[in-house]
Amino acid sequence: MSYTKGESTAKKVGEGTYAVVFLGKQTSTERDIAIKEIKTGQFKDGLDMSALREVKYLQELKHVNVIELVDVFESANNLNLVLEFLPSDLEVLIKDRTLLFSPGDVKSWLLMTLRGVHHCHRNFILHRDLKPSNLLLSQSGELKIADFGLARSLGSPNEEFTSNVVTRWYRAPELLLGAKHYDGGVDIWAVGIIFAELMLRVPYLPGADDIDQIDVTFRALGTPTDSMWELVSTLPGYNNLTVYPQPTKQELRKRFIAATESALDLMNDGTLRNVS
């Protein structure tokens, strides 16, 4: 397989802390691809973890709603990931105030997200960084989950997972409270919050810092207590919490004026799964 990379200055599409992304073309199929050039050298411990994770998990996953890893190659001391090129993402759409989302739009995005997440989970891979900017959209409108830099497999159960994952606003309560043995629920929670954000067009639970995030989350959705969530108070982060009551359906309905009943139920299910 061979690829042509455009002139680096003109076709550079993005630059992150550990990678530069170029737009290129696959010579055999003429399709657009994104080449992610991982910066090495500046890390004294070798390659960045997230690059390894991305390669490791994307190689295993093939699904219409998960970004495709076309190839991996090495050039001049750099590791290059060849990914399919996806021109837009949900964050861009949410921020573009000129766009109106129809219920059908939101429904199909959510469905595609859930299909992708389901595929990851049935292969026992947690994404751990779901957020609108990681849900990319193709030219034809297919939604694909990207950025597996924080992904991790549900390995042997005696390992400790770090609870310091997922972008703050989309972090599930067990992570906020410092749980170390969570499961797919953290991804489902993020999907629920993304769903809320798609309806509100602003982030649903924007905490200013980690402590504030706990407060914001529980103020909106109620503080879990031992009676509804077994032993929740033994989690390391569970101390000095203000106990907020569970929101009634009325309150939620007021917050999401345009949402239909079933939409509210679905959102509730998404954000409550861990509790039950």
Partner: protein
């Protein structure tokens, strides 16, 4: 400074120079004859004695008081076009169903647009008005019939919406009642327990009392549930009736046909596994939402992955299909 002046102009009646600043209830009206703006009191004053010419210099159109209306759009051009469109579409009121082919309908729409364009932009206004009038004369019974039909449809739609709205309100009410009752039940239970404990009898009586309270409450709440179900059904059926018109032929499947329906193994409820059993009872695992069943599922799936896949056979079938 300039902007300021313009803003002042906007809020001032050009006829009597009354300022919005001084009389905040002032309302502006326009007449579809010439769309010159003036305040309500001017309209009252000038046109109280019947039709009179427009007070704007060099306008001179004769206006009637009953034709004055509030301006809906900021832009007077838009306002005018909407008015014209309203008037023309009262005469040209056929819909797609009234035509045999799409081409005929498009031709009809084209004609309508031509008339609107001509009147709005002042091209052959008189000829166009004449055309409109002629059409109206020759199709009078048709037009009236159509208008009556539209009216009826609109009323039906409104009625349906009203019905839906009522159902929804009722549903909310019942849901609230259910919530309320659940709360009351908890309170009552607590009280009952305290009472029985206070009276000094054994715990047996307390549980008995609680179960009694619970039973009576359950009866009530189940009746409410039933009501709720009925309403939900009514709501859904009205929605379904609408959906049937569209005829979706492709059934929706949540996984797009891509789902592992059956495992090649059965998962038992528990296995002899001292290692997992120990984790299962640990506090931090329970609190994190750890489920031993999920671990069994994963381990067994990984153990049996690939069994039941016959690569050679699949390859052969693929080749046969290509040949």
């Amino acid at each position: 400074m300039n902007v300021d002046m313009e803003e002042r102009q906007q809020d001032m009646c050009p006829i009597c120079k009354t300022d919005r600043y001084l009389s905040p209830d002032m309302k502006f009206l326009v007449n579809p004859e010439c769309y010159h703006k003036m305040c309500e009191s001017c309209v009252d004053r000038i046109f109280a004695m019947g039709p009179a010419p427009c007070p704007y210099p060099k306008c001179g159109k004769t206006l009637r008081k009953n034709k004055f209306k509030t301006q809906i759009f900021d832009n007077i051009e838009v306002e005018r076009e909407v008015d014209v469109r309203k008037r023309v579409s009262r005469v040209f009121n056929k819909v797609r169903e009234d035509f045999d082919t799409l081409d005929d309908y498009n031709k009809y729409l084209e004609e309508l647009e031509d008339i609107v364009f001509n009147i709005v932009n002042g091209v052959d206004v008189e000829a166009t008005e004449q055309k409109l009038k002629e059409y109206e004369e020759s199709n009078k019974p048709n037009i009236e019939e159509n208008n009556a039909k539209r009216q009826k449809e609109l009323e039906e739609f409104k009625e349906q919406e009203q019905r839906k709205h009522d159902l929804r309100m009722k549903k909310n009410l019942i849901e609230r009642q259910i919530e309320q009752e659940a709360r009351e039940m908890k309170e009552l239970e607590k009280k009952e327990i305290i009472n029985t404990l206070a009276s000094g009898d054994g715990t047996q009586d307390a549980t008995k009392a609680v179960s009694q309270v619970r039973k009576s409450m359950l009866k009530r709440s189940s009746a409410r549930r039933k009501q709720l179900d009925e309403i939900m059904q009514a709501l859904n059926s009205s929605r379904q009736a609408k959906g049937e018109d569209k005829k979706h032929n492709v059934p929706f499947t949540p996984f797009n046909g891509d789902r592992t329906s059956q495992h090649n193994f059965d998962i038992h409820d528990s296995y002899y596994d001292p290692f997992l059993d120990e984790l299962k009872s640990k506090k931090e695992y329970i609190a994190s939402g750890f489920e031993v069943h999920a671990v069994y599922d994963r381990v067994l799936t990984e153990a049996f992955t690939g069994l039941g896949c016959y690569i050679e056979q699949e390859k052969k079938e693929l080749n046969d299909a290509i040949v």
